[in-house]
Structures are given as C-alpha cells and as structure tokens.
Subunit: 146 residues, 2 copies
C-alpha cells in the first residue's frame, strides 16, 4: 500500500508535532486509492480500532492541506473530498466510477488565464480545475458491460 512517510515528513518539516493520531491518519491516507471524504477517514480509523477523535481528523486534514500534502476538492455532487498529492500546483482528473485520481499539470491553463484577463479586465489570482471522467480500467469495464 501507500507510503505514509511523506505526510509525516511534511508535517515535521513545517514545524508540526508528529503525534500518534497524525501518524495513524497518515497511514490511512496513504492507503486510500483515490479521493476520500473526511467521514470515510473517521470510519476507517474506527474500523481499525485507532483511537482518533472526529475533531482530530478534521484538524489533521486542515493541517495537511495547509502544508500541501493533500488537496481539497469538490465532487460534482457538492460533497467535499481530499486527495493526497505532491505540493506543486496541478489539477486532478477524477474517475466518477471508481474514484481513482490522476494528476495533470496546468500547462495549457496559463495562456487561458491571460485570455481571461484580456477579456474581462480581472486580475486572476487563482483558479480551480477539476476534471471528471472514466479511468482506463473503468472505461474497459464499461465497454464490456454495455
């Protein structure tokens, strides 16, 4: 499964204390395959008999998002979720069937932002792009099923 070390190191390097609950959560997150919701982490923690309070889960997610070790995304349904990721600017493609994610860079977006400025006069400070679709595996599965 995934390696929890990067999450722990990210916390440590940012001056946060490395505690048992945070280590447990890092391991749980590393095991997640695609995106995950806060509630799922809470459930996962409980099912493994890791004593981690609900408040701590939310706090840890917030901290991890702060150091860029995970990113908060919005599902089309309006729900909030998170994905573990590298702390450089990029975006995600989300499989709407299995939830797996893939990272993409924003190379093509920069010129678009310039175009936005030209068209609207806005000074662009940030953006959020989320792409939804079917991953290769699910695509194949769907073709077989249809």
């Amino acid at each position: 499964m995934g390696d929890p070390t990067p999450f722990v190191t990210a916390l440590d390097r940012a001056g946060y204390r490395v505690t048992a609950p945070r280590t447990s959560l890092a391991a749980l997150i590393a095991d997640q395959d695609g995106h995950f919701k806060a509630a799922e982490l809470v459930a996962a923690a409980r099912s493994r008999h890791l004593e981690v309070g609900r408040a701590t889960v939310f706090r840890t997610l917030e901290v991890l998002a702060g150091v860029g070790a995970i990113e908060r995304i919005d599902l089309p349904s309006g729900e909030h979720a998170y994905v573990g990721c590298e702390p450089v600017h990029h975006h995600h493609v989300l499989c709407s069937r299995c939830g797996r994610t893939s990272e993409i860079d924003d190379a093509g977006l920069r010129p678009m932002m310039r175009e936005v400025t030209r068209q609207t006069g806005f000074r662009v400070d940030g953006h959020r792009l989320e792409v939804f679709g079917l991953c290769p595996a699910c695509l194949e599965a769907a073709n077989g099923a249809d």
Copy 2:
C-alpha cells in the same frame, strides 16, 4: 435592477408551474449582483416579507439549476453559491472582494481535455473550472488603498 423574466420563462418552458414563490425568487435572484448563497436568498426573502419557505428556496434553486438558468459553484472556502447565467457551457470569474462574476467561454479548454486524455487515458466526461481574482473596479480601489 435585473430582469426576472428569463428565470420565469425558463421554468415555464421546461414544464414547471409558475407560482408566486418561484416568481418572488426569480426577482430576488435577478437583483443579485454577483454570486449568492442559498442562505442569503432565504434572508432576502424574509427581509422583503415574501413568504417563501426555506425548503422552497432550496427546491427552486435545484430546479433552476436543472434548467440551466443558474449554476452552482464552489467558493474557495468550500461554501456553495449560485450565479444566474446563460444556459450554455461556460465558466465564471469571481471577484474575491465584491463577489461580482463575469462569464468566460471554455475555448482554450477543449484542447487541454484532449491532452488530458492523451496523458492519462481517462475518457473526459465533464469538468469544472472556476477562476478567482479581482474585478477591474476592486483592482483600482485596491491600488488606491495599498
């Protein structure tokens, strides 16, 4: 102020009944300058002594989003908001200071989606792009203040 007619017509044409609460809400939405949150509409309705239940506000927003007369967006803070808009595919630039919005087309995005497919093998079904920044007016105000 804005014209509520397009919202009402959109409902009518989609086969929804044109009722007093829906007409009131259409007028309120038409008066919104930028994006607005469901809670704000509820408050606005109450402050104008329009008798519109909370449930009805949510239901009407859902219906209007369904016919494409408004669009649901996600603020960077994770809150949900809506913007009135034309029922064609496009995106919004949001002023993070005054909340005003501007529409942009997704011309530059199509090639990017193709690039995503090439890089990841995903079949792209949809995407969501939101751009945040400062509108020309706020930009000028900020320059004066700084």
